[in-house]
């Protein structure tokens, strides 16, 4: 299954709903291009909804890290929403769970941006 990304705006936050696999190749490229486009458009508050991400490999993890650092370096914020157990476990093993701001609820995540 390839990865799909669609964006929507809620209270000034850009929510990117991702589904499928974030792996070396197409999945990583879709994520990279999506975040790059949002940054180019000047979006500073980006929430990646990973609820329908079924699989992620080390390349996908690297792409999440890259998205996080590029958004932060341009003065923005990037948070993660709705991690599946697989993604949660991978971020915990790689100690990235403490790096990302991870949210379980969309409304709370939006509030966290606007505090």
């Amino acid at each position: 299954m390839t990865m799909k990304a669609s964006s929507r705006q809620v209270d000034g936050v850009t929510i990117v709903d991702l589904s499928g696999r974030i792996t070396l190749g197409e999945g990583s490229v879709v994520l990279r291009d999506t975040v790059k486009d949002l940054s180019t458009q000047g979006q500073k508050k980006i929430l990646l909804n990973l609820g329908n991400v079924t699989y992620i490999d080390s390349s996908g993890i690297g792409e999440l890290v890259s998205a996080y650092t590029s958004v932060r370096n341009s003065g923005g914020e990037l948070k993660l929403l709705n991690l599946t157990k697989k993604v949660h476990d991978l971020l915990q093993i790689t100690k990235l769970y403490t790096v990302f701001d991870i949210q379980d609820d969309e409304a709370s995540a939006i509030s966290a941006f606007n505090r």
Binding site: T23, L24, G25, D57, S58, S59, I61, G62, E63, V65, S66, Y68, T69, K86, L90, I93, T94, K95, L96, V99
Partner: protein
């Protein structure tokens, strides 16, 4: 259960990575691993095959990746071999070190070590072979988790 061996000779392509991952999941399921373990084994094999295709053979169409699965009643052993310049495990950075935590790459071998019970990296001439072993739960060997090179 008698031992079985399956081997695939693959092109240096992303399609091969997906094929190796899928085969690993199927072999692991037949070996009696549960769904979560099958997923971890498949990911470890995917990472090893990515290394072989990307860093080893560097997508060279003239070079092949060989992925083999050996199963016994107590173990699943997967070997991934490339024809690249060779990998020195001593040069691999620790992805958990603070200075590496936000690096984009360098987590593949780390994840293999996390998900498999043993890993051995052997330099060939040319190439690298990564051998990964997972013990079947209840076989009496599954508590013996350690990582070697």
């Amino acid at each position: 259960m008698n031992g079985t061996r399956v081997s695939y000779t693959l092109e240096s392509s992303l399609a091969s990575v997906n094929k190796a991952e899928q085969a690993a999941g199927e072999v692991a399921a037949k070996s009696g691993f549960d769904v979560d373990e099958c997923g971890r084994i498949a990911l470890a094999v995917r990472e090893a095959t990515v290394n072989a295709v990307l860093h080893g053979n560097r997508y060279d169409p003239n070079k092949r990746v060989i992925v083999s699965f050996d199963t016994t009643a107590s173990t699943l052993t997967v070997a991934v071999r490339d024809e690249g310049p060779g990998l020195d495990p001593a040069t691999l950075p620790d992805p958990l070190a603070p200075e590496n935590l936000l690096k984009q790459s360098g987590r593949g071998i780390f994840l293999i070590r996390a998900f498999m019970d043993e890993i051995h990296i052997r330099t060939l001439s040319p190439g690298t072979e990564i051998t990964m072993i997972k013990f079947v739960r209840g076989s009496g060997r599954d508590g013996n988790k350690e990582a070697n090179q």
